[in-house]
């Protein structure tokens, strides 16, 4: 059995089921991120692991112990909340040691652990202050200190970075990752930010409407999305999802699209499996990441299947390190991510190169992958 085991877990409020048969096994030392739009059930799942919401069906076990009916304080978990939930009437030091005090750990032991954690998080000079006198980043550290000091089996993070400004968020993200690498703790982390999910996790569970849409490593999730929801939710700018038709092109399968003039464009696919062939002459959705569409020089040199595509540029957005170029394909805006100095100009034709190795195909009705 795995370290943290979520087995067939369901959550219902009355007759309304908000979380449907979730199965996730987390190994020791893993950094699992639950990601999804608001209302997808990710925070509910986290609260169920914490014991703050009861479990309607299925079991959750930590270290082979079923914790369904175990009080939050006895599950040996620690949680960092979105608002940090620091006790405003206590000093930083008291905040960090409150949990140990409640567990009747003697004072010398508490002081020793407090000093240890304060040193680790570099908040030694803040211990006598009240939370109201701290900046956002400092509060964040204290909240993590309060979790760390308890030496828990599992850390739970509930959108801990969403109250910070953009720069601080990136810094704290790195810091959380460092902490995980140094301490090797097991972490379950909830966020709606797909960048946080991709950068921090060892595994991601993408959730929507109470279902786990896909569970996998960041690379699996990014390169091989299981369905159109995962494809469009993960990645920024999101994957281009283009309505097209699966056709036979000189004996090989190709996706047929229309360019900005309405003329047909055929892009031969790298995947030629039998399951895909069943969709021949049917409508499919072609998914291509923006970075798979470049100019000829910027294309991935190791790619097997680079296809040229000449189309009119509608908008260019220079973003410093990259330039985002938008064109119209099959009536949809299609974004390409170019080198900063790519020579694309609005309202002019441009020679794109499409890396079809990275292309994925979806069924327009079921929205599921069909090329695997």
């Amino acid at each position: 059995m795995s370290f943290l085991n979520i087995d067939n877990v369901t959550k219902a409020y009355g007759n309304v089921e908000v979380l449907h048969r979730v199965d996730i096994a987390v190994e020791e030392g893993e950094f699992l991120v639950l990601v999804g739009p608001s209302g997808c059930g990710k925070s509910t799942l986290l609260n169920m692991i914490a014991g703050l919401e009861n479990i309607s069906g299925g079991t959750i076990s930590i270290k082979d112990r079923v914790v369904n009916d175990v009080h939050p304080s006895k599950r040996n978990i620690a949680m960092v909340f979105q608002s940090y939930a620091l006790y405003p009437n206590m000093t930083v030091g008291q905040n960090i040691t409150f949990g140990m005090e409640m567990h009747k750990i003697p004072k010398p032991e508490r002081d020793r652990k407090l000093a240890e954690v304060a040193k680790l998080l570099q908040i030694e000079q803040l211990l006598a202050r009240k939370p109201g006198q701290l900046s956002g980043g400092q509060r964040q550290r204290v909240a993590m200190g309060r979790a760390l000091v308890r030496d828990p089996d599992v850390f739970l993070f509930d959108e801990p970075l969403s109250n910070l400004d953009a720069k601080l968020r990136v810094d704290m993200r790195t810091e959380i990752k460092k902490l995980h690498q140094n301490l090797g703790t097991t972490i379950v982390y909830v966020t709606h930010d797909q960048i946080e999910a991709l950068t921090l996790s060892t595994r991601i569970a993408v959730m929507n409407k109470g279902y786990v849409q896909q569970l996998g490593t960041p690379k699996e999730i990014y390169d091989n999305p299981a369905n159109m929801f995962v494809a469009s939710f993960m990645g920024s700018p999101s994957m281009n999802l283009l309505p097209s038709k699966l056709v036979d092109h000189n004996g090989a399968l190709a996706a047929e699209l229309s360019d900005s003039n309405g003329a047909a464009v055929r892009l031969p696919l790298s995947q030629q499996g039998a399951s895909l062939r069943a969709h021949l002459n049917k409508n499919v959705i072609l998914g291509i990441r923006p970075e798979a569409i470049t100019d000829a020089e910027g294309a991935d040199k190791r790619a097997q299947n680079l296809q040229p595509l000449r189309n009119m540029v509608s908008v260019t957005e220079p973003a410093g390190s990259d330039t985002f170029v938008t064109m119209s394909l099959s009536g949809k805006d299609c974004v390409a991510r170019m080198r900063a100095d790519a020579d694309a100009r609005p309202r002019q034709d441009f020679d794109f190169t499409v890396n079809m190795d990275k292309a994925v195909l979806f069924d327009p009705q079921t929205e599921e992958r069909i090329d695997q």
Binding site: L52, S73, M79, S83, Y87, N89, R146
Partner: protein, 292 residues
């Protein structure tokens, strides 16, 4: 041009401000006038009042009326002054305020942080007690006090005031605690704190302003209550009832100076509470009402 415009602006401001202050001072005097009359007449000998002008300052100031009101004036059949009744009021008001405030805080804590099915309905029912007129409950209350064996006792009176006070106290604390993030409670739960530990260590230390509001409100209401005191206190009536007995006595000469002194004595504690904690009152009342 710009300078000229600003000049006019300043002048207009000054006129407006003067007008506002004049009006404010007028109204302040208007409201202070009754207190002035009470104060002035409570330190005059009786002939000066009956033979002269109510508004005039005392010619021979004396504190005898105050001493008389406090310790020797005829209240009902006994010449004890207001002193024992003042004590009755204190014995009634302190426990009643303390108990209703603590229960209100607990109710507010439960209704916001330990929610259960039907909690809003329960809260709505509790609010009824804020709006039910005292007269309606007199007879059922008398019956209940009789059953409990608390009729005509101070503990009985305390019970009545606690029951009536819980509604407002709960309203205050519920609205105040609604603004306290629930994550604090959840965090404390994970830290291993129990129901009362969270209340005692986390919620109560945050409740300063609203506690003061609640205390002022309950203290003023309970201290000033006449109806329950007159109905349920029996032989140990509170200050308000005694004051009425003093002022309404139909025998002998009407000692207006003593009456005035007694009335001020009866009003003094609430005045004191308000002066000491009044600024929190406005602040806390806003916090409770706006964020609810």
């Amino acid at each position: 041009m710009a300078v000229a415009t600003q000049d006019t602006a300043v002048r207009t401001g000054r006129i407006t401000r003067t007008f506002i202050y004049v009006v404010l001072i007028f109204f302040a005097c208007f409201y202070l006038l009754p207190f002035f009359i009470m104060m002035v007449n409570s330190v005059k000998p009786l002939p000066e009042i009956t033979g002269g002008n109510m508004m005039a300052l005392p010619k021979e100031p004396t504190i005898a009326p105050w001493l008389s009101a406090w310790s020797t004036a005829q209240i009902g059949v006994e010449a004890t002054g207001l002193k024992p009744y003042f004590l009755n009021s204190i014995l009634m008001v302190v426990p009643a305020v303390a108990i209703s405030t603590v229960l209100g805080a607990l109710n507010g804590y439960i209704l916001t942080k330990w929610r259960f099915r039907g909690d809003t309905i329960l809260f709505g029912l509790m609010l009824f007690s804020c709006f039910i007129p005292f007269q309606i409950v007199l007879i059922p209350m008398a019956r209940i006090l009789g059953i409990l064996g608390l009729a005509s006792t101070i503990p009985g009176l305390i019970l009545v005031h606690v029951v009536y006070g819980i509604g407002f106290a709960t309203l205050y604390f519920r609205n105040y605690y609604a603004a306290v993030p629930t994550e604090l409670v959840r965090s404390a739960q994970i830290d291993g704190a129990g129901f009362f530990q969270i209340f005692w260590r986390i919620m109560l230390p945050l409740s300063g302003p609203i506690t003061i509001v609640c205390i002022i409100w309950q203290f003023t209401n309970i201290w000033n209550d006449f109806l329950f005191g007159a109905s349920f206190a029996g032989s140990n009536p509170p200050m308000t009832v005694a004051l009425n007995n003093l002022v309404q006595s139909s025998t002998g000469v009407k000692e207006y100076n003593v009456h005035f002194a007694g009335a001020i004595l009866a009003a003094l504690p609430t005045l004191l509470v308000y002066i000491v904690a009044g600024r929190y009152f406005v602040r806390g009342l806003m916090a409770g009402s706006v964020k609810g």
